[in-house]
Symmetry: D2
Subunit: 380 residues, 4 copies
């Protein structure tokens, strides 16, 4: 397979560092350019970065000179991974899209754009099918084929996988109650002050976390096409346009920060539309046998098991399970009856792996495998 | 007011130490006897106890000689507070009851006994009215007036208070979803190994924690009397007997251990029977104005506010709120609509104060105020 | 005793909040004015402050309107306690001194000024004797009697107490090796990011912590007067001037940040000048019997025991011992022989109590008792 | 290279689990037998073990049936790694030695035996030269060639490496002051109760930790041979015997438990015999260039760098540095002058890797490379 040059935007930040770590050993993505804010531009990456990972900076990144986050500094690059902060991500990512880049973003800015796929790579890679339509919107003004794909909020990502498995097997999920216990790494760096979270639980996460969880799950578990249903928003006048249809799931989320470094734990109860509800043993069977497109396409960063279902009554646990499969799968346990809804279970997903950088990476791998990535006709 | 001599069973354990700390400064309970297991018997309390509190051993307890946990060693004592482990609490507490003592227990053993009141002191002290019936069962064989009162599971206690407030104002609660984040002190000492809980969440608490929460709330929020309804169990043949009627609430609990020393946090969603459901602002009003019998009786250990309702969006938090009112009240916050049920909120209760020793203590104070405590006619 | 109006500078910060908490219940200091940065000025204190204490804001502080940190806004105030950041403390404290205020500062700015006493209130309150000289320097230009007294670095404070006790009994200490394990609260708020210190030790504390420890101990354990010895610096030409003489102690400090909320722990080894060195049992006796001037003056905030010497081999511990005596004393334990130096021990001092606000408070109480505080002749 | 069958004693414990993890991927050691206490004997390893590692049980171990810890159940095994508790390790290890096994032990029992090498694999593998003498002691009664090699206490191991580097370059170290901040994993499982160590420092580690550090460093840094010097103890009458000579270093250790999962941090000050003392820059140069025999022998588990010397002023840190080189090296930082002794620095060593199982493993690899491991002539 040909090597594809890639760049990282927001390279010195928390998510940027994870992108670089993953790309340091990737079989066909080749790290070629790093972008960051003005403070870092012009310096060697290893000189300017407060590297906070437990593995050393990949050799390929060490000596790269940090560039400004604008397309003309990313020559010879086809794909950019964006770990930018939401304050700046919106405009920068658009500029790269307009310049013909394939942008895979961890930022929230474009997730609700009706032309942008919001992809959990273990769930709804079929939504990439909307990309040609997104590209077509730029045809006149921008002759290149740039596009933006976003991954989901870290807490929504973990939950989407078992919900998708259940929906595929048992039909629509009427409602889901989700209480999260989220790791401090989800807040980036410097993030949560230690004085706030030591020996403590903070029952609130800023930036509209609960709303993200509630809304994003509807888009991820929804569909594309001009089917019957509630359409997000009609982007342009068009007859044959593919549009997102929100799933009808009602979600209620309560988000908490807990003193854990890595790995979001979530207690979930679901009620199915179908009556009678599926039995616990059937739910377990369905979760254990779930597979996704990223696996059948043999994407190198896809986990062997999209869902790991634990039989032990006290698992999953973030510290013990977050590094299994390099954090690319989702762990589920304690599947049992719920006295109020139908079924309840607990899940744990590594918020900095499948909840962030790993998601964008697998999304890009799927896009490559499905032929959405084309050599740039010209940059700048 | 007369001074009442009291004793503590399980005096060297975690809950026992809390009883002693509270009794060291009590206005009318006077610590007179301490009971513990054979290993400690005969030693000065301060010599034999691995004291783990942040305040020093009260002077009155220091030099007491530890006694065996049997009634004949508790002469001149009217009330015993039991911090015994469930492995031994059942029989020992019965022995003290038979010997005429008023037993206020933190153990789970007798909570489901249909003749034993299961009291959250900020909620259902009216259930003490069943005590004369409990005493009457012993009339022939044991001429004394011993009885057992238990307090509830620490996680159930915190939740019972706002649920009781809502039920009183808005009628029956159809169902409640509760996800707990419980402190390590709830497991006693040595309790949770640090290797298990550091940088971790354990999504399971042994000993049937979720079942306790689900069942005990039904009894606490239920009623006494031979009303229509589901009766726990008919203790004896009798016409005029007062019996517990379980509340019809359906509860689904998911219990988690988190790395917090003290203070259980719980995310709660409720659905009312009444349609339309009460509005958020009315729920807040009701929670803010809730008062209980322990307060109107001016029990010295009752909190000024049974419920503290926070307006800040990130409160309550265990570390900041657990010591307010010496941990005798319950903190509530983030009262808001639930997209799946009606209303959701978060609560925090100090599991070692109102969740354990403080509950028994207030229960005893209420029993004194309401005339249930009589001088023993004779102890053995 | 007359009531003395006091103000707090830097009132919204970590140390400022502690000052306010302590002053809320003080027998004769009456909180009268609060100063903070421009962002807070003009607002009610309780509206503008992110209160991070486990006890509520004292009633007296709640409704005070925050003032700019300049003397004309502190009318009717005699004493100001400064919890200002070092970036601004220097100039502001000087302005208050020049305006005739007695300034008791927790900031580092003036600690090395040869005319400013650097006081650990359990150790060297005799150094206040230099105040008249400090005041005299301003006589012409500033007719008031303002002065500045600083307390010491939090880690130096804890260590100074046992070292002073040993020096008093056994003569000069030749050298001391100190390894600290310092709590995160020592870094203020937001202070240490949780991502940096969770499950970690940081073997470095910025701002010259080790140098502070090494230097400040010399001044604290030194003396005043024109004695033979190494003089800090001659402030002005003068014949009868009292100057600080640095103690000859050589100190080597290694400072570490550990994941503890409150309470600095320090491992100390000392070598005495005197040969043979004192025996362990004599050292313990001396530490146990140590008393200081703040105690004999009956200062209300002075601890009953300046040093608490533990016999248990695993004490002191920050979590268990930091709140004893409201954190106003220092705990010592494990006094034993050192195979390299003479004696080693471990100590624990509450860095936010005796290590910060409580020190300034006792210093002010001693100054009152010894007659250094006079009603202001005029402010502005 | 031929494959060598190995067994693990104490296979279900903390250190045993680490041995199994390391052996699961070893190039020439083949896991063949697992021994544990009676409770586990006869069960499949994966059924009986509370596996607490973040990586899954190696396939080769899963289905092994746990054996009693006696030699007759370890047929076809040449080397046993002992992770046994000190309560039972002494006798069991002797039994295996007598039966002709090469025993590599993590237990403390035989460390002070004058015929047993106490090896830090990055330091004193030359001490293995005493093995033929140890074997000769059994010649008559036990015709096999069994022997015991122990690794050192986890805190002594980390410190031994830089001290050995300095001693090799600059001659004898007169004295060393060591203050440790040790991880909870050093206490095994269940080990330290969370209630004891959360938000806390325990300034004491049981089992004679400080004494181990002080004594073991003398043996590790000492020499073998009938040289002039202080001999540990003359084991038998013999002329040509090689014996251990204790290094003359005086060590003073203060050992603390801190809330860290893995990785012991140590603050060290040293004084050299040589005057003038070496300069800081020369010390750094020597530490950076240090290599050891396990490296030159190309042992597969030896780290590439025995010492990693950090230039950043806030490193090493346990969380960031403990997994580098799979924890097989030692990290050093903050090398600087000491105002009391000569030089001070901080080090961090992974207590469960180079501080425990990895040490035994490298020791065995060195023993293989140097020809000390022979096929057993017969096992019972």
């Amino acid at each position: 397979m040909r090597t594809i040059n890639v760049g990282v935007l927001g390279a010195t930040g928390t998510v940027g560092q994870r992108f670089i770590l993953l790309l340091g050993t990737h079989p066909y993505f080749r790290l070629h350019a790093l972008g960051a804010s003005a403070r870092s531009v012009g310096h060697r990456y290893s000189d300017i970065t407060a590297w906070k990972q437990t593995q050393p900076i990949p050799v390929i990144a060490k000596d790269l000179i940090v560039q400004p986050c604008s397309p003309e500094h990313f020559k010879d690059v086809e794909i950019v991974f964006s770990g930018l902060d939401a304050e700046v991500a919106g405009g920068i990512e658009l500029a790269f899209r307009h310049a013909g880049f394939a942008v895979f973003s961890n930022a929230k800015n474009h997730r609700r754009d009706p032309t942008v796929p919001l992809i959990v790579p273990l769930v709804n890679t079929s939504h990439l099918a909307i990309l040609p339509y997104q590209q077509s919107l730029l045809l006149d003004s921008h002759p290149n084929h740039g596009f933006i794909v976003t991954n989901a909020n870290c807490a929504a990502t973990g939950c989407a996988v078992p919900l998708a498995a259940l929906q595929r097997a048992f039909g629509p999920i009427e409602s889901a109650m989700i209480t999260t216990m989220q790791a401090i790494s989800g807040a980036g760096y410097p993030g949560v002050p230690s004085m706030d979270i030591f020996d403590n639980v903070i029952p609130y996460i800023g930036g509209g976390e609960e709303d993200k969880l509630e809304w994003e799950l509807s888009k991820i578990l929804g569909d594309i096409g001009d089917q019957d249903g509630k359409v997000i928003e009609l982007a342009v006048e068009s007859n044959n346009v593919k549009l997102f249809v929100l799933s009808g799931i009602r979600v209620s989320a309560a988000c908490n920060r807990v003193p854990v470094l890595e790995g979001h734990t979530e207690c979930v109860s679901v009620r199915f539309a179908r009556r009678p509800a599926p039995k616990v043993e059937d739910v377990i069977k369905v979760l254990k046998s779930y597979t996704c497109e990223a696996q059948s396409l043999k994407c190198p960063s896809a986990p062997k098991h999209a869902l790991i279902v634990h039989d032990e009554q006290d698992r999953p646990q973030p510290r013990l399970d977050r590094d299994v499969q390099s954090g690319a799968g989702v762990s589920v346990g304690r599947v049992r009856e719920c006295k109020v809804m139908d079924i309840k279970f607990v899940l744990m997903a590594n918020n900095v792996a499948i909840g962030a950088a790993t998601s964008s990476l697998i999304n890009a791998e799927v896009a490559v495998e499905k032929g959405y990535i084309h050599p740039p006709t010209s940059v700048n």
